[in-house]
């Protein structure tokens, strides 16, 4: 796929997402699944339409619980680690453009929520997810807080850094010898979780402090993903979600580690497979199934990241994870 081929598809898919506005926007009620909302707001950030989407970001902030987290829906009072981190991440990133004090306040509250809920060994827990999943999201949120959140003051940033290190160490200590991460209950094949965790771990060395020496294990994780790709270009038995996860992750990791030559054929094959299995509007969970709106947001995100990956400026892709101001 070339950027020229992808751009019109981005526009048509984005237009489709807008037609589904009432099904995902937090401005239209508190019953929406906030994970879907966060997926959609990520598209708005990467589509660079945050300035004209102020109300969506403010509405998400307004649905924050008193403890600083978010529940599965805007109306749910019980905060959940995974969804709260995704919401906090979208708010801090959206506020890079908006610079609203109210949203900054929401992000600070979210930071406190994660500082309060971390376990002594560095992990976070959420009964809906593996501990590695649940830890991955707050670590990712803190990655971005440390890079972008200059306004939060020395004391808070110091606490975030300490917490982030503990979370990161928990992740790194859980990596298997083959470079993958596994959870026997949730992720026996390790594909999706490895795709998530190599992109989180990578930041430890490259962006913040050169103390954890994760380049080599991350490279090993990327090589494991390469070895698990099917000949058709997909991962995990034609799993659209996991193929998008792996393709996106390899874009970032290959750029940051300078291993594009090794990874690019897999990225191109992944992109080709993803585009071949798009429905007329949106993406399904597996080829031939009905369109899933969350997967459609993932598809748009993958295409937008691919455009950044295709640019000569190797730093550009990092902005699509919030790892660069």
């Amino acid at each position: 796929m070339t950027p020229e081929e992808i751009e019109p598809i981005i526009e048509s898919e984005y237009a489709y997402l807008r037609t589904e506005y009432d099904n995902w926007s937090p401005t239209t009620g508190e019953e929406h699944d906030l994970e879907l909302v966060a997926h959609a707001l990520r598209v708005l950030i990467h589509k660079k339409v945050v300035e004209t989407s102020t109300s969506e970001f403010i509405a998400l902030g307004a649905q924050q619980n008193e403890d600083g987290g978010w529940g599965q829906t805007g109306a749910a009072n019980e905060s959940k680690i995974w969804v709260a981190a995704f919401c906090g991440l979208m708010l801090i990133r959206g506020n890079q453009v908006l610079e609203y004090e109210r949203i900054s306040g929401s992000v600070q509250l979210a930071i406190r929520y994660f500082l309060d809920t971390q376990q002594p060994d560095g992990r976070w827990c959420d009964p809906s997810w593996a501990d590695l999943d649940a830890t991955s999201h707050p670590v990712s949120f803190f990655n971005v807080v440390l890079v972008l959140g200059k306004e939060f003051g020395t004391t808070m940033r110091k606490k975030v850094l300490e917490s982030w290190k503990k979370g990161m160490q928990f992740i790194l200590d859980s990596q298997a010898d083959d470079g993958g991460w596994y959870d026997q209950e949730f992720h026996p094949t390790g594909v999706e979780i490895t795709a998530h965790l190599i992109q989180d771990s990578l930041v430890a060395d490259v962006m913040i402090e050169n103390v954890m020496r994760v380049s080599r294990p991350c490279r090993k994780g990327a090589q494991l993903l390469l070895s698990l790709q099917s000949e058709s270009g997909s991962w995990d038995n034609d799993n659209v979600d996991h193929t998008m996860d792996c393709t996106r992750s390899l874009m970032l990791v290959s750029r940051m580690l300078g291993i594009e030559r090794e990874c690019d054929p897999a990225i191109q094959a992944g992109m080709d497979w993803i585009m071949q299995h798009k429905n007329e509007q949106g993406w399904p969970d597996f080829p031939g199934m009905d369109t899933n709106l969350e997967r459609t947001c993932d598809g748009l995100d993958t295409m937008l990241k691919y455009l950044a990956y295709s640019e000569e400026d190797c730093m550009k892709i990092m902005r699509y994870w919030g790892y660069l101001a």
């Binding site: 009964p127 209950e185 949730f186 999706e192 799993n239 969970d285 899933n292």
Partner: protein
């Protein structure tokens, strides 16, 4: 993959012919806009809600290890005989089946 079964307007509902799902096989049917996945394990058929209660993953594409069905999206696993999710926040809805004149019938 989905098919419309010979669903009656009132309960109980015929989901499929028993011969349609051989041992080790599976089939998804739609009854009044509800997707139901049927699995044949060791010659016995089990019907469950085809939509994972976690994030809506398509359980018809899940992996089966004995009676344990794992969602292909985020890995929640369920006992297809009971719906038990092994400690996750939601169990899986099941539809006890009976065979009547070679057809699989459930209360849906």
């Amino acid at each position: 993959m989905s098919e419309s079964p010979d669903a009656a307007a009132s309960q109980p509902v015929v989901l499929a012919d028993a011969d349609d799902i051989q041992e080790g096989g599976r089939k998804e049917v739609v009854v009044e806009n509800r997707k139901i996945a049927i699995f044949n394990v060791d010659g016995q058929c089990y019907a469950v809600n085809a939509i994972c209660p976690h994030r809506g993953g398509p359980l018809i594409r899940g992996t089966l290890d004995g009676y344990r069905l794992r969602c292909p999206i985020h890995g929640w696993a369920f006992d297809i005989r009971t719906g038990d999710s092994n400690g996750r926040p939601h169990d899986l809805e099941i539809f006890p089946l009976r065979c009547e004149n070679g057809r699989l019938v459930a209360e849906v």
